[in-house]
């Protein structure tokens, strides 16, 4: 994943090695999180039980069922959703040139919520797979409207235009959601489970959802990688980017398509999980500097680390039951985020 090979050893002692080392440390951190995600939970398992379960020994034992059909799917979902949200956040902050942006700023979450609420209320959908598709449809409708507004008129797709269009759509969709919820009491019960965001609820269902939406995620990741260098140059300003041969319209359009694919499928799989998309790119910048390529690499590990960490803590906090990851992520994420903002060498926002 090295596009700008920063091998400046020849120019002096480079910044290549420190970044490689940071990525390695993050990889080890992710490994530990995956491990912790398999070991910790309502039922304490020993290391050898987990190991045996993963190797397929004693496949009928409770330990094996817990690991293979509950915890492993959950960890996999956490990794995929964490990557998708972190990368979507990285792209949206770059495209809008706004450190406070997250995928929600384009109206993605509001559109998804509205579609889900309408689906529950008018058509009686309740399975998480159906709600997943509904949320993708809602997110797409919202983003298409935002892009129609943003890419029309005089100043094409200026960041501020996209943000304003997103804010307007968010307001409209939120009030539709609120009015339906106000009218229909039963809808709230299904909706409130969806809205907090979760990695759990019967591992196999999530896993099915994961595989169902995986093609969209993979396309989103591929487009992200494709636009990464253009977005990297775009950080130097529009004129500079144009002068360096970057087609702004194309890069922004593809970038937004990638954001929708990633954020909407993440929402479809795990419900709307906030904050991760906002905070992760900042942590990545504090570790890696301005380079989009290196921050992208860092986000691949940081997103899952934060999400799995929040999920594990949510499982351990309560004696019985658990706190949904969408709630925990905010409580863990905010202190991490604030300390990065507070102590990083350069002002971040």
């Amino acid at each position: 994943m090295i596009f700008f090979k920063d091998h400046s050893q020849s120019v002096g002692d480079g910044h290549w090695w420190p970044r490689i080392i940071i990525i390695s440390v993050l990889a080890i951190g992710l490994g530990m999180m995956i491990f912790a995600g398999l070991v910790f939970g309502a039922r304490e398992l020993t290391l050898s039980e987990v190991w045996n379960a993963l190797r397929g020994h004693e496949s009928e034992s409770i330990a094996s069922i817990t690991v293979n059909s509950l915890r492993l799917p959950r960890v996999l979902v956490g990794i995929v959703v964490g990557i998708a949200l972190a990368v979507a956040g990285l792209l949206i902050q770059n495209i809008t040139n706004n450190g406070l942006a997250d995928p929600g700023i384009l109206g993605i979450n509001a559109g998804a919520s509205t579609a889900v609420v309408i689906g529950i209320w008018a058509f009686g959908f309740s399975s998480s797979f159906d709600l997943g598709w509904l949320s993708i449809i809602g997110a797409s409708v919202a983003i298409i409207i935002v892009m129609l507004i943003g890419f029309s008129g005089a100043r094409h797709a200026s960041p501020i235009k996209l943000i304003l269009a997103g804010a307007a759509m968010t307001a409209i969709f939120s009030s539709i959601t609120s009015s339906i919820l106000f009218l229909a009491d039963e809808t709230i019960n299904v909706f409130r489970h969806w809205i907090v965001g979760s990695l759990s609820s019967g591992g196999n269902t999530r896993l099915l959802q994961l595989t169902g939406f995986l093609p969209l995620l993979l396309i989103g990741m591929f487009i992200s990688i494709f636009v990464l260098r253009g977005l990297d140059v775009l950080q130097l300003g529009e004129d500079t980017a144009l002068a360096l041969g970057v087609s702004l319209q194309q890069i922004r359009f593809l970038g937004i398509v990638a954001i929708v694919l990633l954020a909407a499928s993440a929402t479809a799989i795990a419900g709307p999980i906030g904050f991760l998309g906002l905070a992760t790119p900042h942590v990545a910048r504090a570790l890696m500097g301005a380079s989009m390529i290196w921050r992208f690499a860092a986000c691949l590990f940081l997103g899952p680390i934060l999400l799995l960490g929040a999920d594990i803590i949510g499982r351990l906090l309560l004696q019985s039951g658990e706190i949904q990851v969408g709630v925990v992520i905010v409580f863990i994420g905010v202190p991490v985020f604030l300390s990065v903002v507070r102590y990083s060498k350069e002002l971040i926002i």
Partner: protein, 259 residues
């Protein structure tokens, strides 16, 4: 050679350039001067293909720039805006390596020629020792040299700079323009800059283009353009012009009409 023919630009329904014709010679340092709002930056940005609504022709190597694809154009001409945006956490080496973007693609990644271009750009701007520092840690002059190194790494024959020294003190201004002069004389670069400081223009320009209200009022060598009659016409202000060695020396006078 760059040839501009009957260039007309309207920005938000205001006429900014009304029929500009000019020729810019290869391997020379040309400067665009004129009062605030006369269209200097717009002229430069039009040549850099940054103003899509520009009417008229801009011919570069016998080709209308409109017909040159953006990627190919970015290998021919480099442009440095007046206030480029520097993202937080950007190191000098990273910035300069961004200048290689036109030469790279999804399939063609970082190569030895990119490495060599970045190295020589850092050397030419005397930034090799600072390559691993954050842009925000640098002085104004160093920062500007880093940006110029980025443009040099782009390895274009033509370089356009919009007021490259507007925030710099005398010494840094001088250093930057000496560097630009060397680039034209020793490396055959064609450089066009917008400048405000007539002292700099008098001292360094091979060719001066004076604009007023969107038209060229004078064009030529510094001695022919920077005369007291021309300056009165361009700036509506009386100036005395003397000669120091071979350079015009401009002294603004009291304006008796407004005093």
């Amino acid at each position: 050679m760059i040839r501009v023919e009957n260039l007309q630009v309207e920005l938000s329904k205001q006429t900014v350039l009304s029929g500009v014709d000019l020729e810019i010679e290869n391997a020379k340092l040309s400067m665009i001067v004129g009062p605030n709002g006369c269209g200097k930056s717009t002229l430069l940005r039009s040549i850099a293909k940054l103003i899509s609504s520009a009417k008229g022709k801009i011919i570069l190597d016998k080709r209308d720039v409109k017909n040159i694809p953006i990627k190919q154009f970015s290998k021919m001409l480099g442009f440095l805006p007046q206030n480029p945006r520097s993202p937080q956490g950007l190191k000098v080496f990273d910035l300069v390596s961004r200048g290689r973007a036109p030469h790279q693609s999804f399939l063609r990644q970082w190569s030895d020629s990119d490495e060599a271009a970045v190295k020589s750009a850092l050397e030419a701007t005397a930034m090799t020792g600072n390559h691993n520092r954050l842009l925000s840690e640098l002085s104004g002059g160093q920062k500007q040299r880093a940006w110029i190194a980025m443009i040099l790494a782009q390895q274009t024959d033509i370089i356009l700079l919009d007021e490259p020294t507007s925030a710099l003190d005398l010494r840094y201004q001088f250093e930057i323009f000496q560097l630009l002069k060397t680039l034209t004389e020793d490396h055959g670069k064609t450089i066009v800059t917008v400048v405000h400081d007539l002292g700099i223009a008098a001292r360094f320009a091979d060719h001066i283009v004076a604009l007023k209200e969107g038209r060229v009022v004078a064009s030529g060598a510094s001695k022919t353009v920077l005369t007291s009659e021309n300056l009165q016409k361009i700036y509506d202000w009386p100036c005395a012009v003397m000669q120091w060695e071979n350079y015009p020396l401009i002294i603004p006078l009291d304006n008796l009409e407004t005093a």
